[in-house]
């Protein structure tokens, strides 16, 4: 049963991610990426990590992707303006981009080849450590004891990112606006 769910979620994730990359309209890309993240959170449930599954949905699908949606709608760009409309999808155009496609394929082959050299490593049965180990309590205790400093540093990071985003996206009050010109 778990195997069936795994292959379904894996297929959904891979197909959705492929479509994110193959899509011309960034709006569809964002929505498809949300589908991919939902399937990933299903995989986290299968991996005995309910905390990661919930956080994946709340933070990624809920917060980050909504931010992307806002920007896509705000800028209102239909699609890429490089004469791509005349080409078929998955025909990536001239020169350097074909090279990029080849490089990505080479990376995939290399990774798979490297992973095939690892011996088959089945998971321990879930019941063995499900009772004490996978709970949110264990994560919380570890996060606020061993990783307390990293956790606090993260809060500073987010504060800096917030201030930076506000400064960067602010309209310069002294710059000539389009109305003046």
């Amino acid at each position: 049963m778990d195997a069936l769910f795994f292959w379904i979620f894996a297929a959904v994730t891979v197909v959705a991610s492929l479509l994110v990359v193959g899509q011309r309209n960034p709006m569809y890309s964002v929505l498809l990426l949300i589908v991919s993240f939902a399937a990933l959170s299903g995989l986290y449930v299968l991996l005995n990590a309910p905390f990661m599954a919930v956080v994946q949905i709340i933070i990624y699908a809920g917060a980050i992707m909504v931010l992307f949606l806002f920007v896509v709608m705000l800028l209102n760009v239909r699609s890429e303006e490089d004469g791509a409309e005349t080409r078929r999808p998955f025909d990536f155009g001239p020169g350097p981009r074909k090279f990029g496609a080849v490089l990505a394929l080479v990376l995939a082959v290399q990774l798979i080849w490297a992973l095939r050299r690892i011996a088959e490593a089945p998971f321990a049965p879930a019941a063995a450590n499900a009772a004490e180990q996978t709970s949110v309590t264990a994560i919380g205790l570890r996060l606020f004891r061993e990783y307390a400093f990293a956790f606090e540093a993260t809060s500073v990071l987010i504060l800096v990112a917030m201030v930076g985003a506000v400064i960067l996206a602010r309209r310069d009050p002294h710059a000539p606006t389009r109305k003046d010109q």
Binding site: A49, M52, F68, L115, L168
Partner: protein, 103 residues
């Protein structure tokens, strides 16, 4: 019957996702889609962390994946702010429009 997933299956899936993200960064000519591809890559790495975590029976991998998520949130916020500022200057999202720093 479908084969039971092992650690190797998860690692292979994660490798495939990472390659898809890399392909997106190489192939797309739209700053927003490039950022989305980076998110795909970050998620592939997160999947690796959680799968290895399950294999070892610890929770440290999940905590690191959690930190990756917060960094991804910060990166998305700053990245999108930069994209808005760039779009205001050039009215374009193509990375080819921003070559002033090219020598």
């Amino acid at each position: 019957m479908l084969p039971e997933p092992t650690l190797n299956t998860y690692l292979a899936l994660s490798a495939v996702l990472f390659s898809i993200g890399t392909a997106g960064v190489f192939l797309r000519r739209n700053l927003i889609t490039i950022l989305l591809s980076i998110e795909v890559m970050l998620n592939a790495v997160n999947l690796t962390f959680v799968a290895v975590d399950r294999f070892l029976g610890t929770v440290d991998g999940q905590i690191i994946a959690f930190f990756v998520m917060t960094v991804a949130a910060a990166e998305a916020a700053v990245g999108l702010a930069i994209i808005i500022a760039l779009f205001r200057h050039r009215q374009s999202l193509s990375p080819d429009a921003f070559t002033s720093l090219k020598w």
